[in-house]
Amino acid sequence: MSAGAAAIPDLGELIRPEHVHGSVYSSEALFEAELEKIWYRTWVYVGHVSEVPNANDYVLKSIGRQPVIMTRDRDGGIHLLLNRCTHRGNQVCVFDKGNTRTFTCPYHGWTFSNTGQLRGYPFPSGYEGADRENLGLGRVPRMAQYKGFVFGSFAEEGPSLEEHLGGALEAIDRLVRNSPEGEVEITAGFLKHKAKANWKFLVENETDGYHPQFVHASIFSVAESGIGDLYSSDSTAVTRYLGGGHSECDLRPEFRRLDKPLGWFGTSAERMPDYVEAMNAAYGADKAREIMIDGTPHTMIFPNLFIAEIQIFVLEPVAVNETIQHVTAIQFKGAPEMNRRLRQQTMGSVGPAGFLLADDSEMYERNQRGIQVRDPEWVFLGRGKHRERLDEDGFMVGDATDEVPSRGMWAHYRAMMEAE
């Protein structure tokens, strides 16, 4: 059998209801297949409209391994262009962000507008009869936004973004309403933190409520943080699988039990008077109180956007054993008092030197090494199987420390990978 080495393994043999084979995190062939069947097919988060606030702004992004230029044209429209000259393949843009109406390829001077059209090439007499219409930059075939969050899909057709988000759509609603203007902004720039680990370890960890007490014991103890208690055996918080690979740690039951506005953020209404006043004015005192008790979501939107209460992470798969986490503080429009604190807390906790994320990333890397051991071959994901239940919306939920999100993610992963 000549094709053996590169053949895609049979996932029916590797993914069971409560077990996943270690090779699913380390197989090069599977990684290549994931790019095609997941990253270049489903909706993938690209960026936020506030990253290109002005006409002719652009920012470099990616989908899987594809380099994407997210532009805003002079009329305000957003475009997802591919960073590859249609002449002989040079990169048309090498600066992370900027403002320009055109991209000129440095190799032979072809010029493209920020909507992707070929505007011109030097010495045009050499191209007599060329079809300029078809020489525009490549683009991500489908682009859609939800409340400023821009997603792209390389599938020409398929479910709409809202269908794809499904149960996770509400997480974005629940996030943006923490702004008195109902909008978030992504304006503080990203920390880029890489780990020698497969991207799926990161996806699973984002809504793993079992690890915080152990991985983060050091910072919880010295900072006298109450976060650890949210993820204990006694916590009333739940883990929830939202379908479509998406999942969350729903901490609202704990915050409601505490019944303290801004308790979710480790502060109080008294300490944030301007924010509270703006929220009361925007939503009325009762609704504002409810929002400020519930706080923001802790939701993993498959495959790459993690809304982590006060920051967002965007996962970029670089290789089967390497992933970059792009992370930044969420900023709430109309809430400067809140935003400074959001940045400060984010800088403390995440990124290469973060009190939390350096330790999470250490776990990712040790996991990647661990799963290459021959015996046992399987990861065991059975925690809380006996007590998982459907909630009133029909989503599977488990206790705060249960592995409901992982089990759901793997069933979805298998379905995507086996789809034609």
Partner: protein, 164 residues
């Protein structure tokens, strides 16, 4: 180039010894001795994304005020800072030490640093231009501000959980 008079030569020598000592304390994970080098209003800053980072507006890799420096040290002392258990083995060289225009009574100095880190993941080299603002407190030099401008701070970095 500014010619150093005798007083400045003596200052350069003192500052150089201070920086060498700080480097050794970091390499050897002498956390408390390192923390004692800070003034009460010290700020430890590692910018991200190039040279135009404004820490009051943009994400920085580290932007610690004095109480956060203390928290960082306390976390390292727990022994459960997994990214430093086992601790990175470290050696750094510091060079190109240059006195800058003072800021009032405070000494400003810049230097280049190269750190070799060996940990569970692999061996990693970190390179930076460091800037110090130093104050004399009871006769001894103390750090008011240390800024570590990593050469590659615009790229994705591995975890950096040791003191740089």
């Amino acid at each position: 180039m500014m010619a150093l008079d005798q007083q400045q030569s003596a200052l350069l020598q003192e500052v150089t010894q201070f920086i060498y000592r700080e480097a050794r304390l970091q390499d050897e994970h002498a956390y408390d001795d390192w923390e004692a080098l800070w003034t009460d209003d010290g700020v430890y800053w590692i910018p991200a994304n190039g040279d135009a980072c404004d820490p009051e507006r943009d994400m920085s890799i580290v932007y610690d005020n004095r109480s956060r420096i203390a928290l960082r040290i306390r976390q390292l002392h727990t022994g459960k800072r997994h990214a430093q258990a086992p601790r990175s083995r470290l050696r750094r060289v510091v060079s190109n030490i240059e006195l800058l225009e003072p800021a009032g009574d405070e000494i400003r100095v810049t230097c280049n640093a190269m750190v070799f880190e060996s940990n569970l993941r692999d061996d990693t080299v970190w390179a930076s231009r460091n800037e110090y603002q130093l104050r004399r407190v009871d006769g001894a030099l103390r750090m008011v501000r240390k800024t570590v401008n990593l050469v590659n701070n615009d790229k994705a970095l591995f975890s950096m959980s040791f003191l740089i």
